[in-house]
């Protein structure tokens, strides 16, 4: 169990993390979601006592991080993949971490095996690809067999097989009753792995909810209609008690209706339809709506609200800069 209370980080006049309070509970995967620059990495660094909060506290099983005896046995973290000495072999990088927390050296071989790096255990880590570096970082997080695991953007730089592997690993670890806290800036990734969701934007807490509730509340379903006789179609819809909203490009959107019902209505009134389709807003859209006001770096000239991102596997190509 991790508890954050009023956690705040201020750099000069800029607030990176703004009175953040939430709990990370054991036995589930908690997703930590927010756009780039929302303060996710800063929050995670403060959770590990690497950065000093301006105010507020973080408690891990009721203790401050600095009070933990041999912290790797309580909490393992992957922050950035390259946080190892490149001139040292993968094995030796893990060995010095293990020794500092009195973890037996045999455990180093075990975790290297678990992440699939045994064949390169004696190679210098500076030759590692991003994906291999990520696996080494995960190995270091698992070293102390900790009850709590924190991963900052773990799928970054991984190939599809690696992404699949890390998802299953997180689910398996949560299944063993461990606390899993994983950050991402991609809703699609969270939807596949997280049971609970914490959303932040510009350092502020925007949502703290179960994944199921988030999906139910945020995925609107509607019917989309397009007709050369748009005005008449709208009048007919209104006359029958449906509220049609114009959504540009000559299309109308109707909430709370079925395609059958609206198709029959148009047919009965002899209105030609060019499109009649059932739509479901993606979680990605819901996330963007939620954080729209809190995105730090807008791309100029593009409409962030209206343009739904292209579906499909985009992760790995997008990396967070903070």
């Amino acid at each position: 169990m991790i508890e954050l209370e009023g956690l705040t980080k201020r750099y000069g006049t800029k607030i990176a993390v703004d009175h953040l309070s939430f709990q990370v509970r054991p036995g589930v995967v908690t997703g930590f979601l927010g756009p780039n620059g929302a303060g996710k990495s800063t929050t995670m660094r403060m959770m590990l006592d690497l950065d000093n909060p301006t105010s507020g506290t973080v408690r891990i099983d009721g203790k401050h991080y600095r009070e933990l005896q041999e912290p790797l046995k309580y909490i393992g973290a992957l922050l950035d993949a390259k946080a190892m000495h490149g001139g040292r072999s993968a094995y030796n990088n893990l060995l010095c971490l293990a020794q500092s927390n009195r973890i037996p050296a045999s455990r180093v071989g075990e975790v290297l095996d678990l992440v699939g790096l045994t064949p390169v255990a004696r190679k210098k880590s500076k030759g590692f690809s991003l994906g291999m570096g990520q696996r080494l970082g995960i190995a270091s997080a698992l070293l102390g067999d900790p009850e709590i695991l924190m991963f900052d953007e773990p799928v970054n730089g991984l190939d599809p097989e690696g992404i699949h592997w890390i998802r299953n690993l997180m689910k398996a670890l949560a299944g063993e009753g461990r606390t899993i806290f994983v950050s991402s800036h991609l809703m699609s990734e969270m939807a596949l792995t997280a049971d609970h969701l914490i959303v932040i934007g510009q350092g502020k807490l925007l949502a703290d909810t179960s994944m199921a509730d988030f999906i139910q509340q945020n995925s609107r379903s509607y019917v989309r209609l397009r007709s050369p006789e748009q005005e008449r179609l709208r009048d007919v819809l209104h006359a029958n008690g449906f509220i049609a909203i114009e959504s540009g490009n000559g299309t109308l959107e109707v909430d709370g209706a079925t395609t059958e019902k609206l198709g029959e209505l148009a047919g009965a009134n002899q209105i030609v339809l060019h499109e009649l389709s059932s739509q479901r807003a993606s979680l990605e859209e819901a996330f963007m709506q939620m954080t729209a006001g809190a995105v730090e770096y807008h791309a100029h000239g593009t409409d962030v609200h209206g343009a739904a991102p292209a579906p499909g596997p985009r992760w790995g190509s997008i990396s967070e800069g903070d």
Partner: protein
């Protein structure tokens, strides 16, 4: 609290598993002994050309340590890299997540690396002395002569302390490049030049290298050099104050700043 013995063991593994440890310490030894030997041979063959004042204050022990002017730079590199690579590699975050107690982390690292630097320094100093004296022929000193053992052992302490001072500076500056960019020219040029300039030398006397190197002189004001307001141990004491200040500064930076 993480057990100190465990952290010491971890820091020893860090040091012995990077190649820079071997090449920096080996350079320090080879350069110091080699240059010291060469200059000893030169002094032996040109002894008659020295002025009377220089002949009267000739210090064969000090001459055999002349290689340290260059050799200490390798010690600076060793000290800077031991601390600085934690920052340049990003390892510092992983290290502090494993050992969050800043004092335990930093001082264990410095104890291990500093201990190794002192050991290599003492070995270097004794090798320089014996090889240098062998090449000084009839002008040689003996290890049994008065104050010679103090000077030879002191030379080892000097080299080790230069490395430890560099560790403190690297902890303050949190960057290998920046630390080397300041320390290398300082020890190789600035300090030596200022020590020869009137007025400035009154201040330069208290620089860590100028003060600390006094311990290596057997003959006071050896080779007709400037008179210092402190003795050999006083000089080493001044150097120790510099080292302590650098370590305290490094610790405060590590404690206060975000990793």
């Amino acid at each position: 609290m993480a057990a100190v013995s465990a952290v010491l063991q971890s820091e020893w593994t860090k040091i012995r598993t990077v190649s820079s440890t071997v090449w920096t310490l080996a350079s320090a030894l080879i350069v110091t002994v080699g240059v010291g030997a060469a200059l000893s041979a030169v002094f032996n063959s040109t002894f008659d050309d020295l002025s009377t004042a220089e002949k009267l204050t000739f210090d064969p022990t000090l001459v055999s340590f002349f290689g340290m002017t260059l050799g200490q730079l390798a010690m600076v590199v060793f000290g800077v890299l031991v601390v600085g690579t934690e920052y340049s590699s990003g390892m510092i975050r992983t290290s502090l997540a494993a050992v969050p107690q800043r004092a335990t982390f930093l001082f264990s690292k410095i104890a291990v690396a500093g201990g190794l630097a002192l050991l290599v320094g003492v070995v270097t100093s004794f090798l320089s002395f014996f090889l240098g004296q062998a090449l000084l022929g009839e002008h040689r000193a003996s290890i049994g002569d008065e104050n010679v053992l103090r000077a030879v052992f002191g030379g080892g302490l000097y080299m080790g302390l230069i490395a430890i001072f560099s560790m403190g500076v690297a902890a303050m500056l949190r960057s290998s490049m920046l630390s080397l960019g300041i320390l290398m020219p300082f020890f190789f040029l600035v300090s030596q030049i200022l020590a020869a300039v009137p007025k400035a030398k009154e201040v330069a006397k208290y620089f860590p290298d100028q003060a600390g190197s006094k311990i290596m002189q057997v003959v006071p004001d050896a080779l007709n050099t400037e008179k210092a307001p402190y003795g050999p141990w006083g000089g080493l004491g001044i150097m120790l104050l510099w080292v302590a200040a650098a370590l305290i500064g490094g610790y405060l930076v590590l404690k206060k700043r975000d990793a």
